[in-house]
């Protein structure tokens, strides 16, 4: 019976401590009284996760390659077809590209390929029952990563850095329900706000112009923020999949399919610097604003 009483006291004390922590953390967040505890946790546990990842990642990629072995022939066939089509396109595009380059130089736009990035491996993912879409990457403050830097992959925008430890950093993914990005339609330059829905493969975009004409399949790129933080300009986000609401309605929104499939995230890049951008000068011509060049 003494054991049971002791257990009850332990339970009461620990529950009380937990509730206190919840209240303190809610008040302060990262700068609050529990901020240092969080920092210590990330500094200590981050390297453990890195260590685990050195074992886990090769195994994961091996399993992936074995699992996909049946698909190889189909993938090769698909790629051959795509390659031929792209080669045919390339001949016609060369001329256009020279013109686009001139216009871009004129407008001071940037090429998505010129971002200076730090490569990083995704080493840990938040449990699904936490409802937060966040991942840990194996680059941290000692690699030059800072809070609010954009994170991209070969396909497009992944998210932004929300906290940094010496050896690791935490990335808030685009699809997280608290994530919002200024977006721009690459074709028509309509601007809007792209927000996550908390679902893995769906984003939502709210357009500022209720009369905007928006075509399905149009490409959305980042609008860019002051000082390139939290989002550098011109990074592809996704394509318009479905329109919501009718033309002229107070707010028009679209369902957007992101380019980046977060279930297969592996290597990403943290944008340290967006490309140099020349001072914008007034131009006489009124060219149709162009995209800043496709996927990086």
């Amino acid at each position: 019976m003494r054991d049971i009483r002791r257990a009850r006291i332990v339970l009461a004390v620990l529950v009380l401590i937990s509730v206190t922590m919840i209240l303190l953390d809610l008040r302060g967040g990262e700068s609050g009284p529990l901020g240092p505890l969080r920092a210590v946790g990330a500094t200590v546990i981050g390297p453990l996760e890195r260590g685990a990842a050195t074992v886990v990642v090769p195994v994961r990629s091996y399993i992936d390659s074995v699992a996909n072995i049946g698909d190889k022939d189909r993938v090769i066939a698909d790629l051959t077809v795509e390659n031929d089509a792209l080669r045919a396109q390339l001949d016609t595009v060369a001329n256009d590209r020279a013109r686009v380059a001139d216009l871009e130089a004129l407008l001071g736009l940037v090429d998505a390929n010129d971002y200076v990035t730090v490569p990083a491996q995704v080493i840990a993912v938040g449990p699904a029952q936490g409802f937060a879409w966040t991942v840990t990457i194996d680059s941290g403050s000692r690699d030059g990563v800072e809070r609010d830097m954009s994170v991209i992959s070969g396909r497009g925008l992944v998210g932004r850095v929300i906290s940094v430890a010496p050896a690791t950093a935490t990335v808030l993914l685009l699809v997280d329900a608290t994530s919002t990005v200024g977006g721009r339609l690459a074709g028509t330059s309509q601007i809007g706000i792209v927000s996550g829905t908390g679902r893995q493969d769906v984003l939502q975009m709210q357009f500022l112009d209720p009369l905007a004409v928006i075509n399905l399949g149009e490409v959305i790129v980042t609008f860019g923020s002051e000082g390139d933080r939290p989002y550098a300009p011109g990074i592809p986000i996704g394509t318009v999949k479905e329109m919501r609401g009718t033309e002229g309605q107070l707010t028009r929104s679209a369902i957007v399919e992101p380019y980046v499939d977060i279930s297969v995230l592996d290597i990403v890049g943290v944008v340290l610097r967006a490309p140099e951008r020349s001072e914008r000068e007034p131009v006489n011509v009124t060219p149709t604003p162009t995209s800043t060049g496709g996927a990086p």
Partner: protein, 170 residues
């Protein structure tokens, strides 16, 4: 609490947390992420009783809320796992714990932990909670926890008997 017991519990909890975020969560199972941490806490509670169960639950929850990339409010997992560790430790006072029953209890605890997490999150104004997904999360969490429990509980039981024999006076 003996030193050996503390060391065993700490080691198992740290491994469970690391494996959960680096191995299980990236595998992207349908629905919830298999909660290895909860199953290990349950197994330790079954092995050592309510006091150790509550302490392990608290430590595991704290670690889970501190391990990057989590953004959850600090203390939520501690609260839930402390209560689960205590409750599961209390269920039996005898040594006869059929694996079927402990597995079912662990599975039920996993389901409750999802519900409690979503409810607490909602209460505290977490904007991320997608209520439509909660039923699927509960069902899958219970299923995964049952499978993990069948594997983990016997192993933890054997380990605790081997390393902490004084907890099993005979």
């Amino acid at each position: 609490m003996t030193v050996r017991r503390v060391v065993l519990c700490a080691l198992l909890i740290v491994i469970a947390v690391i494996v959960e975020v680096t191995v299980l969560a990236p595998l992207d199972f349908p629905g919830a992420t298999p909660s290895l941490v909860l199953v290990v806490v349950a197994a330790l509670a079954f092995a050592f009783g309510p006091t150790t169960g509550a302490a392990c639950g608290f430590a595991a929850g704290l670690l889970l809320n501190l391990a990057p990339p989590t953004t959850a409010t600090l203390g939520i997992s501690s609260l839930i796992l402390t209560v689960i560790g205590y409750a599961l430790g209390r269920v039996f006072d005898s040594d006869t714990r059929p694996l079927m029953l402990t597995t079912l209890l662990t599975s039920g605890a996993a389901a409750l932990s999802i519900l409690a997490g979503a409810a607490l999150g909602g209460l505290l104004g977490n904007p991320r909670i997608v209520w439509g997904d909660v039923p699927v999360l509960i069902l899958t969490a219970a299923l995964y926890a049952a499978i993990l429990a069948l594997l983990v509980i016997p192993v933890v039981n054997r380990l605790s008997r081997a390393f902490v024999p004084e907890a099993y006076p005979r």
